[in-house]
Each structure stands twice: as C-alpha cells, then as structure tokens.
C-alpha cells in the first residue's frame, strides 16, 4: 500500500495539505516511540524479579515514575506539539496575502450535490470545481438544506457547511491535475455518493475554461 490515492491525506498536492502531512509523519514517529517505551516498561515491570526496597527508596522510585512519566513526559510532548502545530494551523488559514489575491469560489451543499459559483466571472457549475494552479483559493461554503462538509483532502482541510451561515476554507494546488473531493459530514441517504472533482489548470488553461463557460 503506497501513499498515493485520489483522496489521500498523505499524498498532498499543495502547500496547505502538505502542512498536515508533515505534522502527521512527525507525530507518528514520536507516538510510536512513546507507545513502544510505555509498553516495554510495563511488560518489563511485570516480569522482572521482585526486589525489596526500603520505604524512602520506594518513595523516591514512585515519585520519579509519577512525576517523570505522568507529568513531565506528557507535558513536554504537548508543548512540543503545540509549538509546531499552532503555526502550521495558522499557515492554513484564509488570511490576507501579498501579491496575487486568492480566487473566491462559492460552494453550496445540497442533498446530494454541489453547486459551485464564481462570483468574479459569474460562472456556475455543479459537482465540478476548476481552479488555477499556484494561486490560493478561498472557498466560501454554505448549505441549502442539512449540514454537509466540504473536503478536498489533497488540497486542504475540510470545513462544515451550514444553512444560513458562511465558512471559508483555503485550498492551493501546486500544478495542474485532477483531485477528488467528498462530503465528510453525514447528510442522509446518498451521502456516500456526494462526490465532486477538482480540475487544476495552468493560468492559461483556467482563463480558457472560464471563457468557455461564459453564458
């Protein structure tokens, strides 16, 4: 089993999704070590030959275990995780950028399809999202009925779509290609088939596509 897949989180196709992939591998490595050490300690403690300890010795040992393993270890781990994790999360947010401005796209969830609108060009589509490579995309999502969740795993995180309110998620793709997206919040009978595709063009290709879609 490789990491590739049309919806793989561990096969990112853009800088935003890549933030999470890097975090994941780092966390996996760290967690594996912790899991191994704790389990090994437990099994060793269970099987080693019993020893007699004086009362003060015993006290010292138990302090060491509880403070070292119970407080310092998780405390340091959590601090490390937040130290790297919070900035990574910050870089994924739809914050103002310098240079070329993000492309705005509106996506409205319906049971069980996606309505896509490009407010700048007036183009509308269904179940198809076309975006240019290398430019940040701000997807403004809402819902016409129940709660859905907008998600293109290889390009960015997911965000829930509610009736009567708008959420924004930022995507970005490195290069032209085609990616799969899927509703991630259970939304009724055909939830499993609420799928859409993202086609990434180069700049010229995107302009040509928009031109071809003009009513």
């Amino acid at each position: 089993m490789g990491c590739e897949g049309p919806q793989s989180i561990v096969d990112p196709a853009g800088p935003i999704a890549r933030e999470v992939t890097v975090l994941w591998w780092a966390m996996l490595a760290f967690s594996s070590v912790v899991l191994f050490v704790v389990t090994a300690l437990w099994i060793y403690a269970m099987n080693r030959a019993p020893r007699e300890y004086a009362a003060d010795q015993e006290k010292r040992i138990h302090r060491r275990w509880i403070v070292g393993g119970g407080i310092v270890l998780p405390g340091v781990s959590v601090a490390l995780l937040l130290w790297f994790g919070i900035p990574a999360g910050h870089r994924m947010l739809p914050l103002p950028v310098e240079g070329q401005q993000p492309l705005r796209v509106e996506v409205i969830g319906h049971q069980w399809w996606w309505e896509v609108r490009y407010p700048e060009s007036g183009v509308t589509t269904a179940n198809e999202l076309h975006i240019p490579a290398g430019r940040p995309i701000d997807v403004e999502v809402s819902s016409a009925d129940v709660v859905h969740s907008f998600w293109v795993p290889r390009l960015g995180g997911k965000v829930d779509m509610f009736p009567g309110m708008t959420n924004v998620v930022r995507l970005q793709a490195d290069e032209p290609g085609r990616h799969r997206g899927q509703c991630a919040e259970f939304c009724g009978t055909e939830h499993a088939h609420m799928v859409f595709y993202v086609t990434v063009h180069d700049d010229a290709g995107f302009a040509a596509w928009q031109e071809s879609m003009q009513p």
Binding site: G5, Q7, W24, S31, W42, W65, P74, F162
Partner: protein
Amino acid sequence: MTDKPCTDPQQLHDEFNDVWGNPRGWRALTIVNHTTIGLRFLITGSAFFAFGILLAMLMRIQLAFPGHTFLDADTYNQVFTMHGTVMMFLFAVPMMEGLAVYLIPKMLGARDLVFPRLSALGYYCYLFGGLILVSSLFLGIAPDAGWFMYTPLSSATYSPGPGSDIWLIGVTFVEISAVSAGIELVVSILRTRARGMALNQMPIYAWYILTMAMMIVIGFPPLILGSILLELERAVGMPFFDVTRGGDPILWQHLFWLFGHPEVYIIFLPAAGIVSTLLPVFSRRPLVGYSWVVLGVLVTGFLSFGLWVHHMFTIGIPHLAQAFFSAASMLVAIPTGVQVFAWIATLWLGRPVFHVPMLWLVGFLFIFVCGGLTGVMLALVPFDWQVHDTHFVVAHFHYVLIGGMFFPLMAGLYYWLPHFSGRMPSVTLGWWGFWLVFIGFNLTFLVMHWTGLMGMPRRVYTYEAGLGWDVPNLISSIGSFVMAIGLGTVLLDIVLHYRFGKAARENPWNADTLEWATSLPPNPYNFVSLADVHDRHPLWNDPDLPRSMAHGEHALTVIDHGRRETWGVDPLTGKAREIIHLPGNSWLPFISSVLIAGVCLSLLFGMYTLAAVFAVATLIVLFRWSWENGAHPAAAPDAKTQPGEPPLHSRTFDGPGLWGMGVTLLSNGALYLSLLFGWFYLWTVSPNWQVPDGPVFDASLLLASGAVLVVAVLWQRQVKRRLRQGLDDGLALRFAGIALLGLLQTGLILWCLLASDLQPTVTAHDAVITFMLTYNLVHGALVAISCGLQALRVRFGYVNAASPYEPLVIEQLWYYNLGVYWTTYIALVLFPMTWGVS
C-alpha cells in the same frame, strides 16, 4: 456491637434472609436489592452488546468490498446509527453503572445502595427504553441520522419518519436510568460507607465511581434538554434549531457534545478504576500514589467538561477558541499519564503474579495508550481539519473505547466472575478468547487508521474501487470476524464456567477489598454484621474478616425489628451519624417504569392525550411511592434502636434523602444552566435571531409571582426553624398554607403564559421563553403538591417534631425554585433591557 455474644452463622443467615431475601416467580419483579439489580444490568448490557456486535458485523460485511450490495443505503444508515446508540447508551454506560451498583455497597462494607427502589426503577427504565430503541430496527423505522443526531438532518423536514423521535424519546428514557443510578451512587459513596471509613480510606474504585457518577449527574442533562427541545421542534414546531426562524443548528451540536465529551470519560474512568483495583491485587502491594491517582481522576473529570468543542473544530468557530480547546484537550494527557505511570510503578515495586485478568490489563495498556496518542493528535486543530469525520477518527475512538473501556471490563469480569457465581472460569478458553479479541481488534482498527488517511469518510455505505480503500477495508472486515470469534469464545467460557467451573475458595485472588468478605455468591444482605474499617486494605490487615462478619461479631447484627439497616456515616470522616433504614421489595418501581414507558410510546405514536393520562398516572404512583417514608408503617414506625447506637435517619435532620434531593437538584440545575446557555447563545450567535418590538408577556405578573415565591420560602424557613426547636404545633396548617402560596405562584406564571402574545412556533425567541416559563411552572406545581402532601402526612402522624426530616428535603426544592425563578426573571426581563429592548 462488638461485645455481642457470637451466634450460629446459619441461624443468623436465616434471620437476615427473612428480612432481605429475594422472592421468586413473578414477584422477582419486585426485587430492589443491589446485587440482583447489578447483575440484571450486567446481563441486559451484555445482550445489547451482542446486538451491537451483530450490527457491526453487518457493516463490516457491507464495507468488505467496493460497491458491495449486501445492505442498501437506508438500511446501512439505520445500522450504523443504531450501532453507536446501542454501544454508547445501552452497553457502555449501563454496564459500568451495573458493575458499580453491584460492587460499591460491598466494597464499602454496606448492605445495599441508599435508594434501593430507585435502582430498580433505573433498571426497568433502561430495559424498556432499550427495547423501544432496538425494536425499531426490526420494524425498519430505526433512527438513521447518526448517533449524534445533527439537525437539520434529524429535523421533521429532512427526517420525516418516526426514526428521530424514537431516538430522542428512547434515549431520554434510558437516561432517566443513567442519572438515577448516578445520583444513587454519589449519595451511597458519600453517606453509607463502613463505620470509620474516612474519605481517603475508600477503595480507589469508589473514587472513580464517585467521579463518574458526578459526571453523569452533571453531564447528561445537556443532552436530555437538547433531546426535549429537538423533540418539541419536531412534534409541535418550536424552532429552537431552525435557522430560518431564529434558531441555530449549532446549538444542538453544543448541547450534544457538552454531554458527549464527558460521556467518553464517564465510560473510561470506571474502567480505569477496575485497572487500579486489580493491578495492586495482582502486584501484591498497595497501589502506588493513591493520592496522585485520586487527584488525577478528579482533574480528568473536571477537564472533561471543558473539551467538548474539539468535536467541532470544523464548524468554523473563532481560531482563538480553537487553540484554547486544543490545548485543554491535550492537557488530559497529564492526569491520564499520572495514572498509567502509577500503574507501572505498582508493578515495578510489587511482586506480580499472572492470571487471566492480567492478560486483559496488558491488552488494555497497549490499545489505550495507542488511542490516547491518536487522541492527542486529533486535538491538534490542523490535523483534525484533515482527519475529522474520516475512518481515522473511527479507528481512534474504537481504540479509546474498546481499549479504555472493554478490555478493563473484561479483566474485571474475569476477576469478579467467582464473586458472581462462586466458580472459577477456564484458563485455556480465557487465554484463547483474549488473543483472538486482541489480534482481531488490532487487525480491524489499526488498519482502519490508514483507511482514514487515504481519505475515506465515515458513515458511507459504499465506496468506489480504486481509491486505495479496497485492501484496508477487506483486512478490517476479516479482523472484525476474528474479533467476533474471540468474543464468542469469551462468552462460551462464561456460560460453561457456571456448570463446569471449579468452586472458588474464599477470597480467591487474595484481594484487599471488602466485597471478598461476602459469601460466594453473596447473600442479598451482603454482611450479617458490619465491620468497622480504618484503612484502605481491610482484608489484607485482617484476613479473618469474612468469618468474623458472618459470625455476627461486628455491628448492626440485630434484625428482629424487621428493618433493612446500614450505617449512615459522616461523608468526610466516616463517623457513624445514624442508622439508615432501607425500603424493601416493592411493585412501585416496576409500575412506575411501565407507566413512563406508556408516556414514551404514546408520544411516539402522536397520541398526546393518552400521553398526558400516562404522565398523570406516573405522577400519582411516584407520590404514592414517596408516601412510604419516615414513620409510615411500611418504613420505620418504631424508632427504637439498640442502646449505644445512633438514631434512625428518619428521626434526625440528616437523612440520605437530603443528599438525594441535593444531588438531584444539581442535575436539574445543570439542565437549567444548559437552557440558559441556549438562550444566551441564540441571542448572541444565531444568524436570524428576531426580537419582537414590544413586550410579549406581562412582566408585572412574573414580578408578583416571584414575590409570592419569596414569601412562601420565608414561611418554609420559619417552619423548619420551629421544627429544629422541637415545635410542631399547627404544622399541618402551616404546610397547607405554604402549599396554597405555591399554587398561587404557579397560577400567576400560568396566567402570564396564557395572557401573553408569545408565538412559540414562529420564532425561536418566543419558543425559548415559553419553554423557560413552563419549566418554572412545572417546578412550582411540583413543590406545591409536595408541600400539600406534607400537610397530609402531618395529619397521619408520619411527620412531626420526632420525625422531622422530610420538610428539610422539600425545603431544598423551594430554594432551588427561588434561585431558578429569579435567574429566569433576570434572563427574560432584565437582560433584554440591557440590549435596549423593552
């Protein structure tokens, strides 16, 4: 008393059995004893578990191959919704409560839980509610909106069938059981321990259960409120969650997860309590760091109420709030880490012996630590944005729940099996059962993390080939069958051991706690005489206790008065304050629960008049139930105790009912606070919140009602003060007067409601006001009726200066009403003024 001459244990047993014995045949439905009720919870929970497993198998067959057509979408959606609902509400919580109901009195050296009839009521509510839920699946009308019932999907518009109603009403019915057992466990642990057992000498399990029970008491009400509101929206159109009419679907998510996150720890903590109980026994030394562990448990319980938002990182809330909840969620790793390392240190410093329960403990450690680590990952917001609602999360919470709850439960089951049956299970079958479950589990769920990372969302009934999901899904499905075979082996072992198991010897594991001082299996009265306890390890310090207790060498050995008695102790020091006399077997709990089931079923069928009839009948039976109290002939008409013993609780100002009422009001208060939260949440956040231009109700009527309430409370206080001075002349008249004031207060609220311009089906604003006023109305009526009954009880001679404690119980309700009423007044009348609305 200890100097009482020793009697023949058989004769003592016969005498005690006359008072405590369980009837057979139909009358077994009247049993209230905690041993029987606890076992019924465990057996019923296991049956629901088997059903939940069956549903899981159906899902795994469907997902084994891409495009598989074993189940259609509608069936699959019902199956996964019911799998979650059954496992959480009908298996995990009742199982843990059932075990605690069975063990707590024995461990604390008491004879029963403090409200035995309430235990029975809780059990029947659980059974009937569970049957209503499960039967819906066979009718093809089961809930299908997922076990967290997100609205608007679960609303009348998008789920028009009865499925969501069945969920909302059925689960609320089951929660009556959870909360009543929670209240009972809190009061029992605080008030009915062995004489001398101070709080810091309790077995560690009791600390875990105390925390769990408090969490149930506070954590379940938000969901109960949410369910009532959503059902009102579905049934009568009050738009609490409808965004077009000023409601907000996110409010449902908050209420759900305000319950849902503590729920995870409600399940985990008692399981960790099992680990902390078993490990020291098998390490043959006391638990290392008892105080650290207690502190860790309390901190976990406290933190768990501040984490609920981490289930909602993708809903678009402010990022600062996300960072806060992210850090808070990770902090739970610290108290959990303290416990894990206290366990390791216990093994390290002990002389471990290896038995089958230890296998399950090792399995627990590996799986739970793994689930804890992925939990910390998920608490990191950017990672959650990716894996939220994928199979990664499904894998994570199965690691936490099966690892953190099921494995310790199995360890506990094997450990206490000799206690239930008096026999030892088979080592070979136990060994096979464990390894099959352990391997099958990891095969299923370790691989499922990968399925999630490959982008497979949860709750999809099928998937296309070629997305990288085919192989891991097939492996998971195979693993789940290995696990199911393992579970079957365990079940076989348990069934066979009842017939073929070797007889267990006294205290077979050389444990330190008092439950092993009963006979195996135990008698309904647990102990003929109640030993004093002054340390954490009574059986290690005095291995002779089982014998001496059975020979009547300790306290409360006299039974010819025919009362079921246990100690009422000081919650902190364990000093005996009174003798608590417990009610005996009765049809009342069964009849009440049948009537409540009637209410639920008629609501489900939309027969609201019939539901009202059932509700009134339920109230009448419950008040009839409360009638057998204090000096009533069926309770304790004769107040005599042995020389040197403290008085009966009904002759003091200090009965357990005071604590029962207090904890119940705490739970009720949590419900009211959730309601208040909803009001302010909608007011500030809801996108289409509409406030009417003018006043919609007459606030002066509310002011008048509040004034009457103040007078009634003051009068009630004065009556109590007189009782404390031993004065009870004119008591009946005074109570009648207070009851009339209560009725007047209630009537004024009713007038305000009827005379108002409220349109509860048009705006969420009016819906919330209507609900809040009705809440006050119901409470006003309740306390007025209770007070009226007190007047009657005085006339019957059940309440007077010699039996003064019931009025104190009701007084708490008066104070509660007073607090809630004026808070309501501030929220509904004064708060809008500060927003410039008159």
